[in-house]
Amino acid sequence: MDLNNLIPDKFRSLTNPTWIVKGQFVMFKKYEHIPVCFVEDDIVYIFLENRVPNAIIKLVKHLINIGVEFYFTTPELSNPKGVIEENYHDKVIKHYLYSHAQVEFFNGFRKIDFDLIDNMVKWTEKENCFDKVKANYESISKRVERKEYDFYSNNYSYEYKDEIREEFQSLYRHIQISKIL
């Protein structure tokens, strides 16, 4: 698979230095070149980079249009240091769920009608690691529900939006339904 084809059509030009192919990665420039995706066994793996959410959403939209199989992965893999093999599945699942809680991805994927959780379930089935989802879901869920109490105004303030917190309360059911379907 030619990596140049993965760059969205609008940005694929010789004069545009924002999207480039460098080595095995497609990169997006924001101050520095940030790896966005790579190909392994004809499957595209996209780094769920919260640093460049708009670029990731545009890339996903483009991949849906050209009909390529793709999954997401953690940006830690773009680092030459890599990830310890034992933690690999946990890290990727955790990053899927963490990114789902971020406003940019939450609204952006909804806008293009893309189900990130469904993609995660497909990936776990492919890697035979669905049993690791629940533990990671619980740890991320705790983070999303994090709140602070203000004694003087007698109010709780939350780090994440109400919409996202409500979504996370019933997210595990959504995961199970995606698994059955």
């Binding site: 924001k30 101050y31 520095e32 940030i34 769920l48 980079e49 919260n50 640093r51 460049v52 953690t74 940006p75 830690e76 990053h95 963490y98």
Partner: protein, 108 residues
């Protein structure tokens, strides 16, 4: 040619310079958590992107010493950084008054 690309380049240069300064002056003994929730012992510019430090480094003020507190690209740019809107003649306050007049007259 001082066009949009040039202005963006100049602004990026300032942001990079400020973030670089932060790399050398700040120390994160427990590691620095980037916007992806990953800890780094020695952050680089790319790791700062999207974090509070990056937003703080974005230049909304000029880089010259004598006009340091002057806010760029604002209709109220002649005001200082800490605005004194005591005379009530700012665009926002005028807009509020205008909307109130429209509501009172049943136009909105």
């Amino acid at each position: 040619m001082r066009d949009r690309a040039w202005r963006r380049y100049m602004e990026e240069r300032v942001v990079i310079r400020r973030m670089t300064r932060s790399i050398y002056t700040n120390r994160w003994w427990r590691g620095f958590e980037d916007v992806n929730g990953i800890d780094h012992q020695r952050p680089t510019i790319a790791i700062y992107i999207g974090t509070e430090i990056h937003f703080r480094a974005k230049t909304h003020t000029t880089t010259k010493w004598d006009t340091k507190h002057k806010v760029k690209y604002s209709p109220n740019k002649d005001q200082g950084y800490y605005r004194d809107d005591g005379n009530g003649q700012t665009r926002e306050i005028n807009k509020k008054i205008f909307l109130r007049i429209l509501k009172d007259n049943g136009l909105k």
